[in-house]
Amino acid sequence: MEQEYVLITDFCTSHDIETHFILQLYDNGLVDIVLKENTYYLPVKQLPKAEKIVRLYSELEINLEGIEVITQLLNRIEKMQAEIIYLKNKLDLYE
């Protein structure tokens, strides 16, 4: 069966970050985590999102508040890009 959860400690060791950072992300609603028998896990589906945040934090030195703003704006960009594709396809009707 495919692995569904990753131990937060494994994730943090792998990315060289503090466990506290992931818990902060959870507190701010940026990632979902799961508590099972007193151990925190990160759902595998959340990994791309969590890794992107870690890159913003460690590679670009952006703090949590900045990450929150960026994440919101990226979500808006994603929605707008989908809308642009939809409108472009609609526009083809009149060309």
Partner: protein, 300 residues
């Protein structure tokens, strides 16, 4: 191979201090990082350039070599070759391994020729990821291709992948092929492959979602008196009854003759036909006389 002015890439002069380099690099990396510029190929290219410039200028050894040979980097190559021949076998194999591990292919030919591939800060961090890197690819298909579900073979990073393209896929739509991205690290899962479809339409049909639109020329007399015509649909010809006194620009709907609905078996959109009434040309004297008679009849 083109010479790359790494100082210019970072907006610096040759006298820049290490702190200036770090500062300039951080500023540009924040601007062009792929994570903050999704689906922006220009930003991705720019990010690679600044990454490469930083790789060279932030390393005192590399910067020294770059400053020394600069535009005459070909001489540096010769210099390196001579130097390499004196090195031990251990030294060579170690350097090669280093380059392979950290994906030197992300750098320009100029960089490779001068430094033989190296590790960028970001590349190094990538290798420690738990999950493999996601890959993005674009697949160009014709509208006719996506009318039916079919198989396609793609080559991604030298590996052939056979995928099923479901009928009815939209232009600009992205699908995820799980586990076909980069390999995971430390036993982690592979990344995913994202394929964005670019659908080229060179048919007489316009598409809006699942519906198709086309224009059909209609003879004036058939428009006036009604009758049967044969029209082209996406999957063949059908016979259509034209109502008497059909107006120019009027539309009829052929239910279920549109495009397949994505991931819904045997479900189709509709085909909308717009009539373009064509008036006859080069009228004979007799025709003109009869039409005048008709006009007079209508005006009375």
């Amino acid at each position: 191979m083109k010479f790359i002015d790494y100082y210019k890439v970072l907006g610096l002069t040759k006298s820049a201090k290490p702190s200036d380099i770090k500062k300039a690099y951080r500023k540009l990396a924040r601007k062009y990082h792929p994570d903050v510029n999704p689906n922006d190929k220009e930003a991705e290219k720019k990010f690679q350039e600044i990454n490469e410039a930083n790789e060279v200028l932030s390393d005192p050894e590399k910067r020294k070599k770059y400053d020394k040979y600069g535009k005459d980097w070909q001489h540096a190559e010769e210099f390196e070759k001579a130097k390499a021949s004196q090195q031990s076998a251990y030294g060579r194999s170690r350097r090669e391994g280093y380059s392979q591990n950290y994906g030197a292919h992300d750098f320009s030919d100029f960089f490779e020729s001068m430094f033989g591939g190296a590790t960028a800060d970001f590349s190094r961090q990538r290798t420690t990821r738990f999950r493999g890197q996601d890959f993005n690819a674009e697949l160009k298909l014709h509208l006719r291709d996506v009318y039916t579900t079919h198989k396609q073979t793609l080559t991604v990073n030298g590996k052939n992948i056979r995928i099923t393209v479901p009928a009815g896929i939209e232009n600009g739509q992205t699908i995820k092929i799980s586990g076909h991205g980069g390999p995971g690290q430390q036993g982690g899962p592979k990344g995913d492959l994202y394929i964005t479809f670019s659908i080229i339409n060179n048919t007489p049909f316009k598409r809006d979602g699942n519906n198709l639109y086309t224009t059909v020329n209609l003879d004036l007399y058939k428009a006036l008196l009604g009758g049967e015509i044969t029209v082209n649909t996406f999957d063949g010809q059908v016979k259509l009854n034209v109502k008497p006194e059909t107006q120019n620009g009027s539309q009829v709907k052929l239910k279920g003759k549109g495009f397949p609905i994505y991931k819904k078996n045997n479900a189709f959109g509709d085909l909308y036909i717009t009539y373009n009434i064509v008036t006859p040309k080069k009228l004979t004297e007799k025709e003109k006389a009869l039409i005048k008679e008709l006009a007079a009849l209508r005006n009375n």
